[in-house]
């Protein structure tokens, strides 16, 4: 290597955190692993998804875990035309806020609609899980949400 050649080298900085999830998010992640979407009841019978340990409006402890989905409504979305290597899909997709059936709050996840002209606010979508053997209890157990059958756009 000649001295005039500019030196450069790959340098990766990684913190391998392992986080304790607690009883409520733990139950939610356990649900994902088992192929179910869970929320928690909050003040006035509202259903919070993803679930929290405390009601965000009153600060009171939340209550029972309840199953929601698997379908829901797209409340808002942003199209990603050129996915980054760390994005969950390697093809263009939408980040979307999805209010699952039975829930009063929206969940942030991915919609794989095939194109921005095939997605609109208010569209019905449904969950697509990874195969059971690949699920570990993490958000990535959901591959994506996809347009509900018959929603045809």
């Amino acid at each position: 290597m000649s001295d005039s050649e500019v030196l450069h080298a790959a340098h990766s900085l990684e913190y391998p955190y392992s986080r304790s999830v607690g009883p409520v998010i733990g139950a939610f992640l356990t649900g994902l692993r088992d192929g179910r979407l869970l929320g928690v009841t909050g003040a006035g019978g509202s259903v919070i998804v993803p679930p929290t340990e405390y009601d965000p409006t009153t600060g009171e402890d939340t209550g029972e875990m309840v199953e929601v989905g698997p379908g829901g409504v797209v409340e808002s979305w942003a199209w990603v035309a050129e996915p980054h290597p760390k994005h969950p899909l390697d093809t263009p997709f939408a980040w979307a806020l999805i209010r699952l059936d039975g829930a009063d709050t929206a969940l942030l996840h991915v919609v794989d609609s095939g194109g921005p002209d095939r997605l609109a606010t208010g569209d019905r979508v449904t969950v697509r899980f990874r195969p059971e053997a690949e699920r570990i209890g993490a958000m990535a157990d959901i591959v994506a949400f996809v347009p509900e059958a018959g929603a045809g756009r």
């Binding site: 290597m1 001295d3 500019v6 030196l7 450069h8 080298a9 790959a10 340098h11 990766s12 900085l13 990684e14 913190y15 391998p16 955190y17 392992s18 986080r19 304790s20 999830v21 009883p23 409520v24 998010i25 733990g26 139950a27 992640l29 356990t30 649900g31 692993r33 088992d34 179910r36 869970l38 928690v40 402890d61 939340t62 209550g63 029972e64 875990m65 199953e67 209890g137 993490a138």
Partner: protein, 170 residues
């Protein structure tokens, strides 16, 4: 609250791996490149400040005290003095050296800045401040512009340095 009724043998999820990773393409710049090229030749290269005359190794290209460029290159000795040290007994993720091992600050002869190196060929309970050490390099054909060219430091057999000779560098 109640459990959501997951009853298989894997139990409830209690932890989540959340690694944070940043990938850089690091370019060291002119001054550090000189230091790295020196390592490729099996030598420690530093730079002297034209105002305070201190020698920095590795040099960042300027003197942090006087704020002027360091333009004079200085080749340093292969020997130095342990100013302080730490015996590492605790395993951690990504550890590449067998514990226990010694991590020492070495003040090379002719330098006014110590730098960190691995100390080997001595039991961990015999390390002491002021110990005289020398760098052990990889084989000539294995030298690269990287600190990996220095295998480790080891005692060079000289009497310990007087405290006054390194007290400014602790």
């Amino acid at each position: 609250m109640t459990e959501p009724g997951s009853t298989d043998e894997r139990g409830t999820v209690t932890t989540l791996a959340t690694p944070i990773r940043l990938d850089f393409d690091f370019t060291p710049g002119i001054a550090q490149s000189k230091f790295l090229r020196g390592l490729e030749r099996g030598t420690f290269l530093g730079q002297r400040c034209p105002v305070c005359r201190k020698v920095y190794v590795p040099s960042r290209g300027s003197c942090p005290t006087d704020g002027v460029p360091t333009t004079e290159d200085v080749e340093l000795s292969n020997s130095g003095t342990v100013t302080t040290y730490c015996v590492v007994n605790v395993p951690f993720a990504g550890q590449s050296i067998e514990i226990p091992y010694i991590c020492a600050q070495v003040l090379l002869d002719g330098a006014n800045l110590s730098f960190m190196g691995l100390l080997q060929e001595i039991p961990t309970d015999q390390i002491r401040m002021g110990m005289r050490v020398e760098a052990v390099w990889v084989e000539p054909e294995e030298l690269t512009p990287s600190l990996a060219s220095v295998k480790y430091f080891r005692p060079n057999g000289e009497p310990d340095a007087e405290y006054e000779t390194y007290q400014e560098y602790l």
